[in-house]
Amino acid sequence: MSSIGLIISFLFIGLGLIWLLILAIKGREVDRRLIFVFIGIAVSVPLLFKISFSEKATPIVRDVFYKIENLPEGSKVLLSYDYGPSMAPEVEPMSNAFVRHALTKNHKVYFMCLWATGQSLVATAIDSIVKKEFPDKVNGIDYVNIGFKAGGTGVLNVIITDFRKMYLTNVDGVNLDSVPIFNGIKSLRDMDLLVSIGGGFPGVKEWVLFAGAPGNIPTAGGCAAVSAPLLYPYYPRQLLGLLGGIKGAAEYESELKDVYPDRFADMPTPGIAMMGPQTLAHLVVMAFIVIGNIAFFVTRKKKV
């Protein structure tokens, strides 16, 4: 289904663009409505036929991936869900990919959130991914959810010296001292990697400024596309890598599929799926820019 759609759409769009190119070279004006038709097709066909393209992780995403990949088994990875439902479509694919990757590498995963709205999203992730896809992982031994505490940067200020000053128990009400995964864990400084997902406040930037940088703890992040340009300046020194928007999520997913082709053969990849129409649309826009320039140079030559 997908491949037929791919062939049809490529054929259609490709031939159409070539036709437009010929028109342009002949110096004819291209009706803007033709451009609209192409964009319409480029966006709707991949949506209907679920066409996607394999992404290639860019360095800034690869740095996050191979950090998690190369940590020794059993390393401690903290995932902070700093977002709410409105940002979820863009960043949830990232957090899901992080969870899958970290648990596959048998890292110990510590869930928390600085946003109150993140609590239910952590719970969903644990129910729908951890419990379903990793049934052998045990709550309290392989992963733990310590939930939400109000205070934003204040929380970070405290847990960088002591978790227990802020969190007496995990979300199930069990004292942290009785949770095996917290044996020997005092503060954020005992973590091997901090990952914050979410681009609002508090978010990746606060994790860098109040936890990662002062504690010298490796920090990575994922955020919505609008906030990415504000975070790039921290890369690569304070922020070891960043997933920006749905594109970043798609790159991570494809890297995951490349490295673990068997394990994640059936993994849902919402990021890659959402990038399908985007990629095609971007290619069409770029093709139009190229055709526009050819048309421009051809007509200019003719005038001379």
Partner: protein, 225 residues
Amino acid sequence: MKKQVPLTITFIVGVVLVLSVFFPPVETLGEDFSLFFDIIAVFAFFLGGGNLIRVHTDRISKKKKDWGFSMITIGGFLIMLAAGLFKLWNPGDISADVAATGSLFQLMYDWMFNPLGATMYSLLAFYVASASYRAFRAKNRDATILLVAAFVILLGRTPLGMYATEWIPESFSLLQIPNLAIWIMTSPNLAGQRAIMIGIALGVVSMSLRLILGVERTHLGTDNE
């Protein structure tokens, strides 16, 4: 004379609000102003809404072109008004939230207002494409820079950028399209944004002073009515 009083009001209010920043007891005057403005805006709406009704009833009564659509506009306006003022179909009583779930007001918002607005907004996807086809042409050096910056960023947003420049060795990794795109966003782009923002700030200061000092008075209209 009819201009002197307004100019004095502008001067006094402007100076007071500029200085209020420096005096803690009155530092929230700006917030009070926005409250006043909100109330003034309601009164002004009677003029605007009145104008809307007048324009369309005029069209209907004179049977001008498309007068049928004017009837629809007025009809929509009145139905929405009634739905909101009398809280029609509202599950609660008159003190309930005007946009409570199930109220006619909310249903009209969900079924009509929202899809119309969202679709109008989404037309941008098409216009972005047609604008880039027309505008991004290497006509001169300025336009070429615009074109190249846009093209690099666009390329960086697709897998193509990575596939095409993967071969570039690590020591020149800045030239890989994704890195180049990040660099453009954080360096030249940032510089341009800053220049624009500082310029805007000075423009606003100068414009505000012209208004407060009454050098600029076009908006106050005419003396001789």
